[in-house]
Subunit: 194 residues, 2 copies
């Protein structure tokens, strides 16, 4: 519905994230999921942090180029958590998750998602940023959250749509859904313009 120019297109979302599947579905777009390939998530060390997510989304698109037929629209995305001039990836283990949440506690961090929309003939990439302000979290809260929600598949070791997002986040500036992993309003706008 609504996006008329997508009617004869085949949309592919190349992501394993159930949050991204949910978000794309919520804007009313029909799509297939493809997430067979592992992409090397490396990037040049001297790269500006704001260029990293689009760089990685573009790299992901590259690994799927053989799947792009004439009517295919491929969507790839990469989300990073940036705090104190460092990028937080997915936590490697329990202690790493504790360390990350202690870094976020009482602090502002920025979630940046890069998105690429790729067709046979063109590619449009963009960034979305959201600032997230965590309240001070105490040790009990951090351990309770990690024990119960096991956020090992999430950059920065938290999901804004989980308990810790409800009790711990004072405010955000930007798109909420971007923090979940896909800036759907901007994506919808770009798909309409395609």
């Amino acid at each position: 519905m609504i996006i008329n120019n997508l009617k004869d297109k085949k949309i592919i979302l190349a992501s394993q994230s159930p949050r991204r599947h949910h978000l794309l579905k919520s804007i009313g777009v029909e799509f297939d999921i493809l997430s067979r390939q592992e992409t090397d998530e490396g990037f040049p060390e001297d790269m500006n942090v704001y260029e990293v997510p689009v760089f990685l989304a573009r790299k992901k698109a590259k690994t799927y180029e053989n799947f792009i037929a004439g009517s295919t629209i491929l969507i790839t995305a990469d989300t990073i958590v940036h705090v104190n001039n460092k990028i937080l990836n997915k936590p490697t283990d329990y202690d790493d998750a504790v360390k990350m949440l202690k870094t976020l506690s009482g602090n502002m961090h920025t979630v940046i998602t890069g998105v690429c929309i790729t067709t046979k003939n063109k590619q449009k990439c963009f960034n979305a940023e959201t600032h997230v302000y965590f309240d001070v979290l105490d040790d009990d809260e951090i351990h309770y959250y990690i024990d119960k929600f096991k956020p090992f598949d999430k950059a920065g070791a938290y999901g804004i749509q989980e308990w810790i997002g409800y009790i711990g986040i004072k405010k955000i500036e930007g798109s909420y859904f971007n923090v979940m992993g896909l800036p759907v309003q901007k994506l919808y706008e770009e798909l309409k313009l395609l």
Copy 2:
């Protein structure tokens, strides 16, 4: 869990809103729902708009005062949508919903929720504000949304957690959950201090 001082208390949420039930549940609090009485939602005409939600939350608490035993904690809340110096209530009919969404389209509005926590001996009330920035919505989008989601029970004629929130909201400043009807982070903080 987590909020130890609530262990022997009986929490009552006096609200019919399924969003508020969901939000309070999400912070891990156990509670009963009570929403028998209708509260007159009038307020003094010359009242500052930022005082209205707490005024109404306090008024709601007043109507439930007979239910407050020694160990009871009563939570009442009222949410308003404020735009162009006007308060938007629930839409009266289809045309009113269209009119409201046209007012919000391409515009910033403020969602203010007033919350009161009332016990036998004391009452703590507070406000939370979130600024919401809508993209320009076209007529097709407005009609599609109202037809499909029938937002007649929602102040301002929209739910941020519904399709229109995903495709139409560019950014927010403040708490996302406040826009859904209950600023749960602030409420959690206040309950801990109780």
